[in-house]
């Protein structure tokens, strides 16, 4: 049984994940143009409901495994909050950046 904790947040996919099947939303959290680690990054569905949350890596990376649809990624950090939206049509990597201020 695997747990519910997030795998390590990295810019590259773990070896056991098939990007041909998974709808992957990935990107960086930025503050003043620089990546920020330790931000709480939440994935909200098209209705604004919470779906998942990860903590950005020291390089600012985050990653979600979602489904086709519209998603909002919202980041909370001591430096400020911010959000960005993305529409995923199907499997593959969907990249976005979230700036906090």
């Amino acid at each position: 049984m695997s747990g519910c904790g997030a795998p390590q947040q990295t810019a590259t996919l773990p070896a056991n994940v098939d990007a041909g099947k998974e709808v992957v939303l990935t990107g960086k959290v930025l503050a003043a143009g620089e990546p920020v680690g330790g931000a709480f990054v939440r994935l909200l569905d098209a209705t604004g409901e919470f779906t998942a949350e990860v903590v950005s890596s020291p390089e600012g990376d985050f990653r979600f495994f979602a489904a086709p649809g519209s998603w909002t990624v919202r980041a909370l950090h001591r430096a400020g909050n911010g959000e960005a939206t993305v529409t995923a049509e199907g499997p593959g990597l969907h990249e976005l950046q979230v700036s906090v201020a």
Binding site: G5, N16, V17, D45, E49, F50, A52, F65, A67
Partner: protein, 283 residues
């Protein structure tokens, strides 16, 4: 039930880091967060290594729990303050687990690691060694733990609260969206369950919503306060969060957490499964 009996604020916690008889415990699935910086003086419990039997899918037994707490330097009379990442999911699971084994004084740090970090409160990497104790766990209190047969019997009779995200509930996702979706079990939910995602009960910073807000959320969702309630999610930790809300904050008397949750139910042969949005609030 009063909030002060079951929750502490980050401000209270910071003022009581050195109070005798108060032990801070960080609970996570991935303890690298603890190792990279923890609340000063806090010991760690690893959700998987420390709380799950290494062979069977079950908890460590009473002796195992006694041994674990003894090694961590936690006494039967200590006030244990639990906190962790993931919006306190695993800390809430540990709270329920401590209650299961009869620990009297246990509380959650409201907002967990997230609130603590967003507040900019201190974390350190000091190794924490507390003198060992002779902890004595009690017999497991199964009045707060639901097993699968009981869950199947509860369909259409008791409140079943599915606390996963709406997409997991309808069968669109098989796991929370920070995890890969390839899973063995069927997608969907237990028939007659209402979907109240755990996150409805929390503010963005991870703290719990007010009692009035919580009563409104579960009332609007159709939870019948006169009936017993079973909460479930995927592996039982998000539902511990909701179990905490219903029993410890709102004071419902008969609330169980089904730790088998969807990874067990969705793999059972022959049980009914419902997909789609489910029915609206049931009378």
């Amino acid at each position: 039930m009063s909030r002060e009996n079951v929750l502490v604020s980050a401000a209270w916690a910071e003022e009581n880091l050195n109070t005798p008889g108060v032990v801070f415990v960080e609970v996570d699935e991935d303890t690298s967060a603890y190792d990279a910086g923890h609340i000063p003086g806090a010991v760690k419990i690893d959700w998987k290594q420390d709380l799950q039997d290494p062979v069977r899918r079950d908890f460590v037994d009473r002796d195992g729990f006694s041994k674990l707490l003894s090694e961590r330097g936690i006494g039967n009379d200590d006030t244990v303050i639990l906190y962790g990442g993931n919006n306190n999911w695993f800390a809430a699971y540990a709270y329920w687990y401590f209650k299961l084994y009869g620990h009297e004084n246990v509380k959650l740090l409201d907002g967990g690691r997230k609130k603590w970090e967003l507040d900019g409160r201190p974390l350190d990497k000091e190794e924490v060694n507390r003198p060992a104790t002779q902890y004595q766990a009690k017999e497991p209190d199964t009045s707060i733990r639901a097993f699968r047969d009981e869950v199947v019997d509860a369909i259409g009779k008791k409140n079943l609260v599915d606390v996963r995200s709406p997409d997991e509930f309808v069968g669109k996702l098989l796991a929370p969206a920070h995890l890969p979706q390839e899973q063995a079990q069927r997608a969907g939910h237990i028939p007659s369950a209402i979907n109240v995602p755990w996150s409805k009960a929390a503010n963005e910073d991870g703290t719990f919503r007010s009692d009035d807000e919580l009563r409104e959320i579960y009332g609007e969702a159709g939870l019948d306060g006169s009936k017993p309630t079973i909460a479930y999610c995927r592996i039982g930790e998000r539902s511990s969060h909701t179990w905490f809300v219903l029993r410890e904050l709102l004071g419902h008397s008969d609330v169980k957490n089904y730790d088998g949750s969807w990874t067990e139910y969705g793999s059972l042969v022959g049980v009914p499964v419902e997909v789609g949005p489910g029915k609206e609030a049931r009378a």
